[in-house]
Amino acid sequence: MVGIKKSRWLPVVVVGTILLFFYLPILILMIFSFNDSRSLTVWAGFSTQWYTQLFRSRDMMEAVMTSVSVALISTLISTFVGTLAAIGLSKSRKVVKEVVLQVNSLPILNPEIVTAIGFMLLFSAFTIQRGYTTMLLAHIAFSIPYVILSILPKLRLLDPNLAEAALDLGATPWQALIKVIVPQILPGIVSGALIAFTMSFDDFVISYFVTGNGVKNISILVYTMSRRINPTINALSTILVAIITIALVLINVLPMMKKKEKVSYE
């Protein structure tokens, strides 16, 4: 227990108020997705019409598909490349390592908008038509640095002799990688992939600057629709919030339950 703890109610009030501040807007957003009228402020009765409209809207469904497929593909590629790069870095000479990490940290330190216009200028310099492919490339590019940063600490903890032991026992470098190194750093790879997925799925700024030809992800759609407010966005958001909450609860609760199982087993 740290320091001051005079009153019992003050912490509850402060933390409670902040949590209310965080969740109230989201809750209101979700409630009005079931509103029978177009209004976002006046309750006119329960209805699921906005959900029906959402699934009928081609724009919406296309945006969802774009968001999901870009996130999945960019996560897959950035996790693969990032894992190999991180392993390579951990065995590289110090100079190489420092330079690569320095450059690698640029997109993380830079404001998103700067990274975004960088990509925009890049694609225009190579006269690549902006659209789905450019969005995908940009997402892969901004995810890899995060993947590398989440794997490197795991590699630092790895006994450098493990890979050598595998080679010594007859494994080829590739087998050593798959059978020994990857299983050891798996938690880092998984958390890197999760970060990559959410970064991609939630991205607005970079997607906005590098897309074109009417290709939109969910964020861009919300941005362009904000002027014509429409409860289908509430409906879509409600679904997303539900999925994310369930996923997060599963991720956080499952390991806890496993731990308990182990304890009782022993």
Partner: protein, 347 residues
């Protein structure tokens, strides 16, 4: 005995630092060879070159008459027990030992047989499905040995494998390793900085310092006939003095001439002389070849360690009889206890 490994003029240069300065060494079948030296002497580097984890800057490594420098580690018939074991933490004992066999795609039935046999050899029967992370240091050590030996290598490399164990366990494992080596009948190459470990286990000791071989010999040779000051100093406790070899069998030091058993030096050559503490004896004043005053006496369990200040130096004596501090005593030794070494040093 067949020559199994030949190092021919191995030089290793790490970014301008010469770690190995031209190593020539032959290793035979079924030998227990120890590479002994202080940290930074190049012993681990030499072992890693043989394992295939480093490539030498110059020279050749012959294995069974074939040059193997370009052969990757996974194609060498050599296995290694690493310093901190390097057991795969995500696999249990059985899977760790079976790793090499599975890579070679042997049938699970044969793997089961071989692993069980190995577990028996290292005294870990029934530990098959324990998590390696929950084993004690000594048990992990045994798993590492089993994991290497199960592949039936022609040579087993051991890189300071007992360094992480406590003293008592270390002594037990020394004997056990020797036993295992006799049982499997292959060459063991053992790296250590612990001279006692080397003397206990080895058939042949290679003493290294600053990237150069100082002496190669049996434990007895190395202990009794050190070839230079470094070896004498590194192996066991010694009184090392400087003197002059007057003639064959006659050496001069501390203002006196002594009879000795060494010969073949130049007349009046400056030499280093070793007298082991246990070869010195404390005798009455008039019977000593040298005389001095007792400075200190410490009981060491089996013997007393007595320091006597003679005219020119302090001499360490190991003896079973105590002596009184400040007492004037004589020191006695036989001609064969004087060991004369050339100052030219290295091999």
């Amino acid at each position: 005995m067949r020559k199994l490994i030949q190092f021919k003029n191995i030089v290793k240069d790490f970014d301008g630092t010469l770690v190995l300065k031209g190593i020539n060494l032959d290793i035979y079948e079924n030998e227990f060879v120890t590479l002994l030296g202080p940290s930074g002497c190049g012993k681990t580097t030499l072992l890693r070159i043989l394992g295939g984890f480093l490539e030498q800057t110059q020279g050749e490594v012959m294995f069974d008459q074939i040059e193997i420098s370009k052969v990757p580690p996974y194609k060498r018939e050599i296995n290694t027990v690493f310093q901190r074991y390097a057991l795969f933490p995500h696999m249990d004992v059985f899977d760790n030992i079976a790793f090499g066999l599975r890579i070679k795609k042997q049938s699970e039935e044969i793997i089961k047989q071989k692993v069980t046999k190995m577990l028996k050899l290292v005294g870990l029967e029934g530990y098959d499905h324990r998590a390696v992370t929950l084993l004690s240091g000594g048990q992990q050590q045994r798993v590492a040995i089993a994991r290497a030996l199960v592949n039936e290598p022609m040579v087993l490399l051991l890189d300071e494998p007992l360094g992480a164990l406590d003293l008592k366990l270390r002594k037990e494992m020394q004997l056990e390793l020797k036993k295992i080596q006799k049982e499997v009948g292959i060459t063991f190459i053992y790296v250590t900085h612990d001279q006692e470990e080397a003397l206990t286990m080895s058939d042949k000791i290679v003493v290294l310092n600053e990237g150069e071989i100082q002496q190669i010999g049996t434990p007895t040779d190395i202990y009794n006939e050190p070839e230079n000051r470094f070896v004498a100093d590194f192996i066991g406790e010694s009184n090392i003095l400087e003197g002059i070899m007057i003639d064959d069998y006659r050496v001069y030091f501390d203002d006196k001439e002594f009879e000795c058993v060494d010969y073949g030096f130049n007349d009046n050559e400056e030499v280093d002389i070793v007298i082991r503490p246990e070869d010195l004896d404390i005798v009455p004043l008039d019977m000593g070849k040298l005389t001095g005053t007792v400075v200190s006496s410490l009981f060491k369990g089996v013997h007393y360690e007595i320091v006597v200040k003679t005219q020119d130096r302090h001499m360490i004596i190991h003896t079973t009889d105590d002596a009184t501090v400040d007492q004037e005593v004589g020191l006695h030794f036989f001609p064969e206890d004087i060991h004369v070494m050339s100052k030219l040093g290295a091999y």
